[in-house]
């Protein structure tokens, strides 16, 4: 139930229950007639995978993590390959045994696509680099 004003004086419509809320919703709906809601959702979360390269395929790499589990990450056209000292590289520069840090985007099917693969050549991991860590 709603009452207009207070003590007979003009004023806003005040409701004792949820009617006030409903009225606001209806007004909002009328103002938003042109909008059609969509069911598509973006996925902004990223994952990062640290480990040793176990397998290199044409369209994916398999990384063995410190806990012993292996994770496959897909390679896509936009995948960046970057050396430990921050230089651009390419897929053919990767080798099994390299340490890698992969920044990846989860796909709807739960697979991962690599945005960036940073790597250090196996056996050269402890060598000093000229660049400072970011």
């Amino acid at each position: 139930m709603c009452v207009a004003g207070i003590n007979g004086l003009p004023g806003p419509i005040i409701c004792a229950d949820g009617e006030h809320f409903m009225k606001r919703q209806i007004v909002s709906l009328l103002a938003l007639v042109a909008l059609m809601a969509s069911v598509g959702f973006a996925h902004g979360d990223k994952k990062h995978v640290l480990g040793t390269l176990e397998k290199i395929n044409a369209d994916s790499v398999v990384v063995k993590q410190a806990d012993g589990k292996s994770v496959e990450v897909k390679l896509v056209s936009g995948t960046m390959y970057v050396t430990r000292d921050g230089k651009a590289a390419k897929l053919s520069d990767l080798a099994v045994g390299d340490r890698v840090v992969i920044h990846a985007t989860p796909n709807p099917d739960s697979s991962l696509s690599a945005d960036e693969i940073k790597f250090s050549v196996a056996g050269a991991a402890n060598a000093p680099t000229a660049s400072k860590p970011n």
Partner: protein, 202 residues
């Protein structure tokens, strides 16, 4: 068909659309995670087009293209724009994906077909009701904005070396810096406290 019947049909159609939109909004809410419908995208682009004054549309870029100007613009873009647009202009970033509407892929024709003057005007004045702020009016020089126009033209040809260079210019908070340090330590051969699942980050 009589005029009255046509009007009645249009009213019924409008009411039907309103009810459908209302039910959809009540059911799904107004989440910014949603993807704008084709109708909204079309309307927004047309409104944006109308919002740019005709004289601004015809302005020419006074900056002569050069490697130095592009280098400045890459650093500027990486520092100020890439959080939403991404270094490559694709918009595939945490902020970009969370905006409504999403930032356009700057490499595609919908952006590239805009005139230099239109791009400059958008950088300087922003776009209302979107996440695009106005960078003009004291926030930076117009020369920087014109250099950004040059860079936007260059985006479809952006090289991997340039993307790697831009990564160093991206703003990073303490959490990102700590994460980078952990990753560099790992690449140097130090052990890592690896979680059972791939770590989550932005």
């Amino acid at each position: 068909m009589k005029r009255g019947t046509v009007i009645l049909l249009l009213v019924v159609l409008a009411v039907g659309l309103a009810v459908a939109a209302g039910v959809s909004i009540l059911h799904n809410g107004l989440s910014a995670r949603a993807t704008p419908t084709a109708m909204e995208v079309m309307l927004a682009r047309n409104v944006r087009g109308l919002a740019i004054p005709a004289n601004a549309r015809n302005e020419h870029n006074p900056i002569t293209p050069s490697e130095e100007a592009l280098k400045d613009a890459r650093a500027h873009f990486a520092n100020h724009c890439a959080s939403c647009h991404g270094n490559d202009g694709g918009g595939d970033t945490m902020y970009g994906k969370g905006l409504y509407p999403k930032p356009p892929d700057l490499r595609l024709s919908q952006t590239q077909k805009l005139s230099d003057g239109e791009l400059f005007w958008i950088i300087e004045n922003g776009v209302r009701f979107t996440g695009m702020p106005a960078f003009g009016g004291g926030h930076g020089s117009q020369e920087d904005s014109w250099k950004l126009v040059l860079f936007i033209r260059h985006l479809p040809q952006l090289t991997m070396d340039e993307r790697v260079e831009m990564e160093r210019e991206n703003p990073k908070g303490p959490g990102d810096q700590e994460e980078d340090k952990e990753e560099q330590d790992f690449l140097r051969g130090e052990p890592v406290q690896q979680k059972a699942e791939p770590a989550h980050h932005h």
